[in-house]
Symmetry: none
Subunit: 395 residues, 2 copies
């Protein structure tokens, strides 16, 4: 892709309706997409080439991070962005290449130092913020330390400096009645990092001694960002992201997108798109509610979330993007209330897309689409091709 892509004025709008795919309702036999009234989405389907995407591979349920990596053309198995990193991305922290990130819990230990509550009674986020402030006194030689509250008892720890390694064990024993574990290096190159993190834990212990119930911390999920080529580098795009939720904003940053204001609703997001339309050639628009309502197990609310997007769509269509993509990062059927492995409806509209016969945007209709069932990592090459931003391969 790096070799074939080139810069051009055409514009790609990539709309992700999170958790879009569904399953039939037990009574009506209709999926959420089949039940929704969505004349605008159906109109786009009629003018599109459609298909069903597998984000990871058949049967594998994608987490949000690997799901989105796949949508943007990154092999989600190769680019392993783990929990320490996603926790940090989730609160809008910037991660740089050599940072080591971990997930932290404030916890309670007894006078012997044994863990009695791994979550310190779920202290309030405000209390958490105060304790994080306290921990900012900690110093380690040659390392910048970022301690940031997440929610309740959870915080993010980032170590920034040279020669750090994520290959160290967790201090979290994942059970009560035992002491937090000493952190060990799993590779020889990680010895320095283990020593530093153990020193961080010791200093924490002293600082929190009297702040019961949150009188200790547990650390786990040490991870580093994989070296990941940016979208401007691969695709020669000037990409922007419009997303309300921090995790998606963080991931977009990581891939080299600029963040645009998103407001709170899909209408706000599309208004932001309109305002910045001339400044970028690729727009990732993330809509969360389809997933959230699916995870609530609220079938009707998920149907309404789809209809909400449909009503706002004319705002987007008025901009007449050269390539418009609508799809999801995984299925979240309201009947199950969790992310699932089911392939996700996909449509791509462009002047050159070679339309198929699909005239409604549903799971079943998309299966018969011109793209059939295909891996999501093929979307970006298709988007680039339809935007006429790719050279031919070979002579």
């Amino acid at each position: 892709m790096k070799r074939l892509s080139f810069k051009s004025p055409s514009k790609i709008v990539f709309m992700v309706m999170d958790g879009l795919g569904g399953l039939p309702h037990p009574q009506s036999g209709k999926t959420e997409l089949e039940a929704a009234k969505k004349p605008n989405l159906d109109l786009v389907a009629e003018e599109s080439v459609c298909g069903l995407i597998d984000l990871i591979s058949p049967g594998i349920t994608p987490g949000s991070t690997p799901g989105h990596l796949s949508l943007f053309g990154y092999d989600p198995i190769k680019y392993d962005v783990r929990r320490g990193i996603t926790e940090a991305l989730g609160i809008d922290l910037k991660i740089t290449k050599n940072d080591v990130a971990a997930r932290g819990n404030f916890c309670t230990v007894d006078e012997r130092g044994f863990v009695t509550d791994r979550r310190a009674g779920r202290i309030s986020t405000e209390e958490n913020a105060k304790l994080c402030q306290l921990l900012r006194q900690i110093t380690l030689p040659g390392v910048e330390i970022l301690v940031t509250p997440v929610k309740e008892h959870r915080f993010s720890l980032i170590l920034r400096g040279d020669g750090l390694s994520p290959d160290i064990t967790a201090s979290d024993p994942q059970q009560t009645g035992v002491a937090p574990r000493k952190i060990e290096a799993m590779t020889p190159g990680a010895k320095k990092t283990a020593r530093l993190v153990n020193s961080f834990v010791q200093q924490t212990e002293r600082l929190l001694k009297n702040s019961s119930p949150a009188n200790m911390v547990l650390l786990r999920g040490f991870s580093q960002c994989p070296e990941i080529p940016s979208m401007p580098e691969i695709y020669k795009l000037t990409p922007a992201a419009i997303a309300v939720y921090p995790m998606y904003r963080g991931l977009a940053l990581l891939l080299g997108m600029e963040l645009l204001p998103a407001g709170n609703t899909i209408t706000d997001e599309l208004e932001s798109l309109r305002r910045h339309y001339k400044d970028y050639d690729f727009f990732f628009i993330h809509f969360k509610n389809t997933d959230s309502r699916g995870e609530d197990g609220d079938y009707e609310a998920k149907v309404r979330a789809i209809e909400e997007v449909d009503r706002a769509l004319p705002q987007l269509l008025a901009l007449e993007p050269d390539v418009l993509i609508v799809t999801g990062d995984h299925s979240t059927p309201a009947t199950l209330g969790i992310h699932t492995w089911h392939p996700v409806p996909f449509m791509l509209r462009s002047k050159w897309c070679r339309r198929d016969k699909v005239s409604t945007f549903t799971e079943e209709a998309c299966l018969a689409g011109g793209l059939g069932r295909f891996p999501a990592t093929e979307i970006m090459p298709l988007a680039m091709a339809n935007a006429l931003k790719l050279e031919k391969f070979g002579a």
Copy 2:
């Protein structure tokens, strides 16, 4: 899969109708599946997600071993279970990791030692058994020798001991009028094994000198079992196999399944399933007749074999497995009378399968199924997902 799978009470029944796929009859234009009356299979299809599977890759005709390896999620190119091993598995021999197995022929040599008949006039299996008894006198230092009759002139040789290597040449010259070849090491590490096997051949020669026509042996297909992770290890399943034919039982053992009694008919097999249903969470049921009748070139008999399964099916459906899969390990069209490369109908029924419009279990109908055409190695992830036995991938 190893990282994502977990144990749960849900049950998977995986029925393999050997050689299931077919081709149209020259007169009727119908495949065996299209001609068969099979209301129960069609009912399952209606409640399933369907597709067509490629066992190896398009155009490649699977042998039974790679076909089944692929069904159970093993890359059949990577896990190279060769003839010496399958011959042994085929007569229910247990193979352990360091064994070297070979296929043996009793043959006839003339007074100069030149092969005159590679099959010794296809001596009877009884005669074969007597000669194998004779060969059990042979000793080799540090090696246990298992000589077991297979059928007519064929026997299985297994060498069991430390430091054996399968990387040695065959003694079988694959032609008459020449002497059996001396066995050579193909790698330095195989020298000891070559020396031992040549000693085995020399001792054989002395023992068989006067037992014309079977007065010599030819050896080929030296092989070792690949180190193959077991199904309990990969999928955290407690799997059982119900199969009449030895080869399939042997392969099931190799993959870590327990063997259950199978009787002689599909009804016996399904009765065994019912009796042991509570003790396992995965059942491989193998039905051979579809393949055997296809290989006979008997179109009508293959149709009847399909109908035989259909009639017995209610026994299985009464158990209400959480996931039911029906498919085959390759096609055996009666019009050709051999295994072929044609993709094989597949259906998977579960509460969460996202049904498609397929309402009859045939090659053509399955092509339009929700799974489309897909590699058989994706079946196990789909089975596990539908049994809700897989964590999601990434956060």
